[in-house]
Symmetry: none
Subunit: 242 residues, 2 copies
């Protein structure tokens, strides 16, 4: 209901839908109306062709989309079965290490994080407890023992996740959970193990110190600097897509 097939146009139900998109929607409706649950079988491709009056290639392309979305699992000679790997797929989207995070994505996400983390300073100080400070320091300390970038970014992410958890806002936590893959890649951008162990570590510690000292301005300044520091890796890059 909320998502359409592949077109990202804002219009819903306009006439510009391709046949593949139509079939995608029809299959989703079929799943919904037939109350198919995880593990149930979908009709064969050829049956779907007849049912939706579409060619087999069209049905196959629709299946590819549903498969990419993690909604069906199709195996040769077995057929298509309903699954729910959406979360897994969401994380796999960013396993495409071949492509760099675009500057726009980087900028948008970091601005958003800055908005949430820096903008909630007052709330942080209202709710802050000693336990929070201890946890943050403990997490940050793990940066000293990292072995690779993945491990480092996981710790970096855990630090910020623990920080926003102070807000006790489930909506924010959910959003951060979904954005995790993007955030991880952003954190790794241009960094080395050494940078994580030295610069990132001390930036985090500065934030924790400011929290402990109840120094609102220092907290905001240091956190914002920490979030925006990655911009230097985009210094000369220029891209302008209409």
């Amino acid at each position: 209901m909320s998502t359409e097939g592949s077109s990202e146009s804002g219009k819903t139900g306009s006439a510009g839908e391709s046949a593949v998109d139509v079939v995608v929607q029809q299959i989703r409706n079929l799943i919904a109306t037939s109350k198919l649950k995880v593990g149930d079988h979908l009709p064969t491709e050829r049956d779907l062709c007849a049912q939706f009056n579409a060619s087999r290639n069209t049905v196959r392309e629709a299946m590819r989309i549903l498969k990419a979305y993690g909604l069906v699992d199709v195996r040769p000679k077995i057929g298509a079965t309903i699954t729910d790997n959406r979360m897994t797929r969401a994380f796999e989207l960013f396993s495409f290490n071949t492509m760099e995070i675009s500057r726009k994505t980087f900028s948008d996400v970091q601005d958003f994080r800055s908005l949430v983390e820096v903008g909630s300073a007052d709330l942080f100080f209202d709710r802050l407890r000693q336990e929070d400070l201890d946890d943050l320091s403990e997490i940050n300390a793990k940066l000293a023992e990292i072995h690779d970038l993945n491990e480092a970014s996981e710790i970096d992410y855990a630090f910020h996740m623990r920080l926003v958890s102070i807000l006790d806002n489930h909506a924010v936590l959910d959003v951060y959970a979904v954005m995790k893959p993007v955030i991880l890649r952003i954190m790794q951008k241009g960094k080395t193990r050494r940078i994580f162990k030295t610069e990132t570590f001390s930036e985090h510690q500065g934030v924790v110190d400011a929290l402990a000292a109840r120094d609102r301005l220092a907290f905001q300044y240091r956190l914002r600097s920490h979030l925006m520091i990655g911009f230097r890796f985009f210094s000369e890059e220029m891209e302008e897509s209409a």
Copy 2:
């Protein structure tokens, strides 16, 4: 988590991988080795067929996957261009179904919206253009002609969506898109058609006026009040424990 374990494509060798998976990998490599950036064009389907020695259907199915992953945007006659909508796709996958609107949920979501909308006041005034004000007024005017609550909340949502669109931040827009079902339900909570036509309308207009007058304090005060006003409907309501 990165490369190892997707369902069907474990081996990077020759056996076991379908031709479509191979082409997907080849296109990924092409993007990487050619250093293609967002906005650049991919070769035509037929070129890719020749280049990878695959049939056109295979290339098309591979393209569907990349499109579903938000890595390419293919338009008829134009061809495929590199994009980076992976985060949008991730949010689409997430698409948590409308949960029960508890007082806690209401509080969390409205706090979050307040954080984003009220907290971005400076950015709003930086980027604001006359066109934005006109659109906001135009959208708000539609509240006068509503027929039911669904229609009213859609317009209310569209108003706030248009507001945050001024920020030109894709991450924020994606988050709002995902939260739409929850936001709609929150907007309807305790309201009547009359309230939408009178109170909500004038609250919106007050926000627009404050924007037009470049009155930052009035903007923040009115917007925050508007977002928090629904709390009165939870005043006496009891809700079961978490």
